[in-house]
């Protein structure tokens, strides 16, 4: 696969992945060509096109078009299913994925794609395995954050363990977050903080909503 593009019905590019080195100008041109060509297609046309020496495979999911360019010898039907699998992975991660999820969490969409495709080839086709490795990196993030709390507020953290009033802890968390996001003025509520002991390694899950 040479490239994968996600764009909206208005032709706004939401995600771009290039699997061969292409100059920036050329990328813009290809993107333009793809959006005009694919958006002009009538509904219920076939999902394949020829463009220059590439095969183009596209599919529409709600307001988003998924479109990829293949070399001549690649399998179109399977590429179609690859797009579908990517949508499934996004769906599993975001839960009923919509265009907004991809706009606001574009970096996640790229990370998930990297777990699934690499160098234009399928790396891992199992939905479970991909989902697990994406989850794992999220876990890693949350562990990191908790470590930060421990580092910054050892006193309060131990207080929490000691069963101190929950309200104090929430305030603490609020302060901690205010410290990092200096511009934030929102109020914080804690959805719960749990500590799990597992094989001698402390891994923590925490949820902060606002």
């Amino acid at each position: 696969m040479r490239f994968l593009l996600l764009f909206s019905r208005q032709g706004k590019l939401r995600l771009q992945k290039w699997f061969t080195p292409i100059p920036e100008r050329e990328k813009k041109k290809i993107t333009r060509d793809m959006t005009t060509m694919v958006l002009a297609r009538k509904p219920r046309s076939c999902n394949f096109l020829h463009w220059k020496d590439l095969k183009i495979v596209y599919k529409r999911y709600a307001s988003l078009y998924f479109c990829c360019g293949l070399d001549a010898e690649e399998n179109e039907l399977l590429a179609l299913e690859m797009l579908h699998r990517y949508v499934e992975l996004l769906d599993k991660y975001f839960g009923n994925v919509c265009e907004l999820d991809i706009i606001f969490n574009f970096e996640k969409a790229y990370f998930i794609l990297d777990e699934f495709l690499l160098g234009g080839e399928v790396q891992e086709t199992s939905k479970l395995v991909v989902a697990r490795s994406v989850e794992a990196s999220d876990m890693l993030q949350e562990t990191e954050r908790l470590m930060e709390i421990i580092l910054l507020f050892p006193l309060f953290f131990s207080c929490y363990h000691g069963g101190i009033h929950e309200q104090a802890c929430i305030l603490t968390l609020g302060e901690m977050d205010l410290h990092t996001h200096q511009k934030d003025s929102g109020q914080y509520r804690s959805g719960g903080l749990t500590t799990v002991q597992n094989d001698g390694v402390v891994s923590c899950r925490m949820r902060v909503c606002f």
Partner: protein, 974 residues
């Protein structure tokens, strides 16, 4: 904003994104982005060290801005810093930024490589994966140099985690694609092959992709993979759909792995070992059998995955091309798909059948589906499916069904989509020629092509029909009769007029016996179309007329009358005028013997590959436009060399005549012709026939001295000069570069000599505007390309070709916008020929070529000089040597308004000196021409004679070539 923000949301980023989304206009968005960029810049530059989180947030914002399509020129360093963070999220964002915004900045690359190295040796699988993903995503040569040796080690090391193995395999694949020379085969290759036996199907999938690419490079090293692949495939194919757990996709067992294994097997011939071969055949049969089983799910994903494997199996069967039973089964299976209700399957069936048609075992089987395919051509609603149907009809065509297929394609042509018409025309033309048993059918077919889709019939097609008619005696009479009849239609396409003119001019005598097509009737018929045609066609018709004079002496008077008419002899187009003048003189002066020799019937063309076929091949593929351009450029420079060594370069017309006289063979004639183009491009365009230096009034002694010069037929406005025996450029159009050769070279409007801005060129599609400024010997030109249509131009490319004296020092094209091109110009020494701007682009399905001369003339490098009367005359006398002065007397073409004249002289670049000339109605100017090497002082004097409506223009400069050129340029203006 979505309610859930998984992982760690970056609130600042989310706020920024929603701000951007709330922007009402593009301007507001840019304003918001600039504000953010300024903010980030100040944060990065600030004294306070940023913590990892803020750095990550800002880098992420920059990434978002870049992905919106804006340029980012900072932040790379901060992103590189993130790479060495020990926090996963920061590292991850850093890597993402690097892989999206790679910069070949060398110091950064070494920093990035360092960070990657650290992560690769960290033994932490998550970090190793991030590093490998980054190498695969960037895939640059520098990365390959740094890691091509290390990645294979990681891949085959015993203690590497499965997920890292997968990343390493695909990372290596990517490096091998970009820099195959750096990925050295070694001891690891055998161990890679054994990954096909791995327990983890994900590892096998990734390894199969890698082995496939490596096997294409060095099949010998990976030969052992065949038996392993067959074994693995056989296990998958025979497994129950639940055996493979999560690798089963909608009840299809490991479709990705199956397809990849089948692809790997396509790198090799059928296995020689009988047992393996038998096992493979079994697998393929099972796959074919499964297609007949009832679906296990109604979901489209199930059938897509199943059929993906099936199509790949069919590809392998076609590739092996050795098992007739499998081939026929494959063909039948595809035949079923041809009528499937799923459009995708019909499309793919048509596509696969194209390759099947080329196998001798299955060609006949494919042919049985002809009715279905023809039906698809007529009834498919989707143009891309119809396109595939056209391709298949073309592929399955042979002698037995050619007439039917050509007829169907012709009738489809009338309603075909505009985007594919040109290709259909080419295909019909090729099939008609290839399978023509009798050439009358061929002629009919091509004439029908012109009738149904004249606009899409490229020059190659009508050249070809003429070549064939000329080379085959038996069809000439029929062709003459048919075109004569076709021309009788009240409205016929210009291409038909061209073919008609050519064929009647050559073979009109074959039908002249019939009183319904007597010479006079033939001539009247042709001439009735004359006024509706474009210049090149009219030029061709004029050649047909002179041929008529030879064929039919009885119409000589009538034709001479036509040639003598003002609309010919005084035609505004220099090409037509010249032809009319020369043909008229030829018909008057030459004896019948000479006429018969000069206007002899065309000799047969050398047999060669059809230029149409070359064109069809060229239509495929993206990169093919540029080689043509390069070739053309090369050719021009070669010609430039020829000009330089020619003893009489630009003025001696007799010299040119003799050049032509020595051109006998076609390729040499071609060279000579281009030579003439180059030599003439400056002079001829500037001089109409009246001026004394030009070709027009070729003195009579020239005629008698050098007969071979007179019959010079020129093609296009500044086209190619050839002897009349060869009529047109047809004879030596090289199949490779027809587009550039037939290209009409548009001269720039003469008003540009005195103006710097305006519209340079315009046709129905494109408008080219210019803005230019010149200072001393330097200039800058802004070229604006405006698309007048509502459709996109694809493959747009503009390039400048010029002689060696004037170099567009640095033709930079503004990034992003394709609409503006900036040319930097430097005048190295004085020159005559203006550089040519070649433009190529694809509009609809057709390649458009435009060549325009850029209005860069010598006078642009004029600096005005003010001087007193005394001073002026002193210098005037100093420049008194005969070669320094050039004088011309010419008729006024515009009204002789004093103010207009003044404005023109100033626009020309010279200072207008008042009170210098004793006669106040005369104009006197002075200035200096700046070139890189020298400065040439110039004085000029223009004396109008209002009674006679004449001007006398005198130029004195220190250099004769400059005097001549300036005189030529300025005299054009009044």
């Amino acid at each position: 904003m979505p309610a859930v923000s998984k992982g760690d949301g970056m609130r600042g980023l989310a706020v920024f994104i929603s701000d951007i989304r709330n922007c009402k206009s593009k301007e507001a968005e840019i304003k918001r982005i600039n504000k953010e960029l300024a903010n980030i810049r100040s944060k990065f530059k600030g004294d306070k060290a940023l913590d990892g989180y803020s750095k990550k947030k800002y880098v992420c914002k920059l990434l978002f801005i870049f992905l919106l399509g804006h340029d980012i020129d900072f932040g790379h360093m901060e992103a590189v810093n993130l790479l060495s963070s020990n926090k996963y999220t920061e590292k991850q964002i850093g890597y993402l930024f690097i892989s999206v915004l790679v910069n070949s900045n060398s110091d950064l690359i070494s920093l990035i490589n360092n960070a990657i190295k650290n992560d690769l040796s960290s033994r932490n699988p998550t970090f190793m994966n991030l590093a490998l993903h980054c190498i695969a995503n960037v895939g640059s040569r520098e990365m390959a140099e740094a890691f091509a040796a290390e990645v294979p080690c990681i891949l085959v090391a015993g203690d590497t985690m499965d997920s890292v193995k997968q990343s390493a395999a695909l990372c290596l694949l990517r490096l091998n694609r970009t820099s195959p020379d750096l990925v050295a085969m070694g001891e690891w290759t055998t161990r890679v092959v054994h990954l096909l036996n791995d327990q983890h199907l994900g590892v096998v999938t990734a390894a199969t992709s890698l082995i496939t690419t490596l096997a294409q490079k060095s099949p010998e090293d990976f030969k052992t993979s065949v038996s392993l692949a067959v074994a693995r495939l056989s296990r998958i194919v025979s497994s129950a759909s639940t055996d493979l757990q999560d690798y089963t996709y909608y009840f299809v067992a490991a479709p990705w792995l199956s397809v990849k294994l089948l692809r790997l097997l396509q790198c090799y011939p059928p296995p020689e070992d009988g047992a393996i071969r038998g096992r493979l055949t079994e697998c393929l049969e099972t796959i074919l059998n499964k297609a007949q089983e009832p679906p296990k799910s109604k979901k489209v994903q199930h059938s897509n995955a199943k059929n993906a494997v099936l199509f790949e199996a069919i590809s392998l069967i076609i590739h092996h091309d050795s098992e007739p039973t499998l081939l026929v089964r494959a063909c039948n299976q595809l035949g079923q798909f041809l009528q499937h209700r799923e459009t995708n399957l019909r499309y793919l069936a048509l596509e696969s059948m194209c390759t099947l048609a080329s196998s001798e075992f299955s060609h006949e089987a494919v042919k049985t589906h002809i009715e279905t395919v023809i039906n698809a051509l007529k009834s498919e609603r989707d143009v891309s499916v119809r396109q595939r149907a056209v391709d298949l009809l073309y592929a399955m065509c042979d002698r037995s069904n050619a007439k039917q297929i050509v007829a169907e394609m012709l009738s489809y042509l009338e309603t075909a989509d505009y985007s594919i018409r040109e290709e259909i025309v080419l295909k019909v033309a090729i099939l008609a020629e290839k399978y023509a048993v009798d050439y009358t059918w061929y002629v009919d077919t091509i004439l029908n092509l012109i009738r149904f889709a004249g606009d899409y019939v490229s020059d190659e097609v009508w050249y070809r029909v003429i070549q064939i008619v000329i080379n085959r005696d038996e069809v000439q009479g029929y062709a003459a009769k048919t075109v004569f009849e076709a021309l009788q239609a009240p409205a016929c396409h210009e291409n038909l007029v061209k073919v008609g003119g050519y064929i009647l001019g050559e073979f009109g005598n074959l039908i002249a016996g019939d009183s319904r097509s007597s010479p006079l009737i033939q001539f009247d018929l042709l001439h009735s179309k004359f006024h509706l045609c474009s210049v090149p066609t009219r030029a061709l018709l004029l050649s047909a007329y002179i041929k008529f004079i030879n064929l039919f002496p009885e119409v000589k008077g009538t034709i001479q009358e036509v040639l003598r008419s003002d609309s010919q002899l005084r035609n505004a187009d220099v090409e037509l005028q010249q032809r009319a003048v020369e043909y008229l003189r030829l018909s008057c002066i030459a004896s019948t013997d000479i006429l018969a020799t000069v206007l002899e019937e065309m000799p047969p063309f050398p047999e060669r590959e059809s230029s149409i076929l070359a064109k069809l091949k060229r239509k495929k593929g993206p990169g093919n436009l540029h080689p043509d351009l390069d070739e053309n450029r090369k050719e021009r420079s070669v010609n430039g060399g020829t000009v330089a060594t020619s003893p009489t370069p630009s003025t001696d017309l007799l010299g040119l005549g003799s050049t032509i006289a020595t051109q006998n063979s076609a390729p040499r004639a071609s060279k000579g012709a281009s030579l003439l183009v180059d030599v003439f491009s400056g002079n001829i365009a500037a001089f109409p026939v009246e001026t004394p230096v030009s070709v027009g009034p070729v003195a009579d002694e020239n005629f008698s001295r050098d007969i071979s010069y007179i019959p010079t037929v020129r093609w296009g406005t500044l086209g190619i000069l050839v002897g009349i025996q060869s009529w047109e450029s047809i004879q030596y159009i090289k199949p490779k570069i027809p587009d550039m050769r037939c290209l009409p070279l548009a001269p720039f409007p003469s008003r540009f000599v005195c103006k710097n801005n305006g519209v340079l060129y315009e046709n129905q599609l494109l408008q080219i505007g210019l803005k230019s400024e010149f200072r001393q010997n330097l200039g800058r030109m802004y070229v604006f390309f405006g698309n007048k249509t509502s459709t996109q131009f694809m493959n747009f490319a503009a390039s400048v070709v010029c002689q060696d004296t004037l170099q567009p020092a640095d033709p930079t094209v503004d990034g992003g916008a394709q609409l503006q091109q900036i040319l930097n110009i430097e005048c190295v020494s004085d020159f005559v020929d203006a550089p040519v701007l070649n433009i190529q682009f694809r509009y609809g399905g057709t390649l458009q070529n435009i060549a325009v001369k850029l209005p860069i003339t010598l006078n642009k490098f004029f600096q005005p000089t003010e001087m007193t009367s005394q001073n002026f005359f002193q210098r005037w006398k100093q420049l008194g040597a005969p070669q320094q002065e050039v004088q011309t007397i010419f008729k006024a073409r515009h009204s002789m308004d004093t103010e207009v004249t003044k404005a023109k002289i100033m626009g020309f670049g010279a200072a207008l000196l008042d009170g210098v000339d004793p006669n106040p109605s005369n104009f006197v100017g002075a200035g200096v021409i700046h070139t890189k090497t020298t400065q040439v002082g110039c004085l000029l004097r223009l004396e109008p004679n209002t009674q006679a409506q004449m001007y006398r223009l005198t130029l004195r400069t220190s250099r004769d070539t400059v005097s001549q050129r300036l005189c030529d340029l300025l005299s054009e203006q009044f």
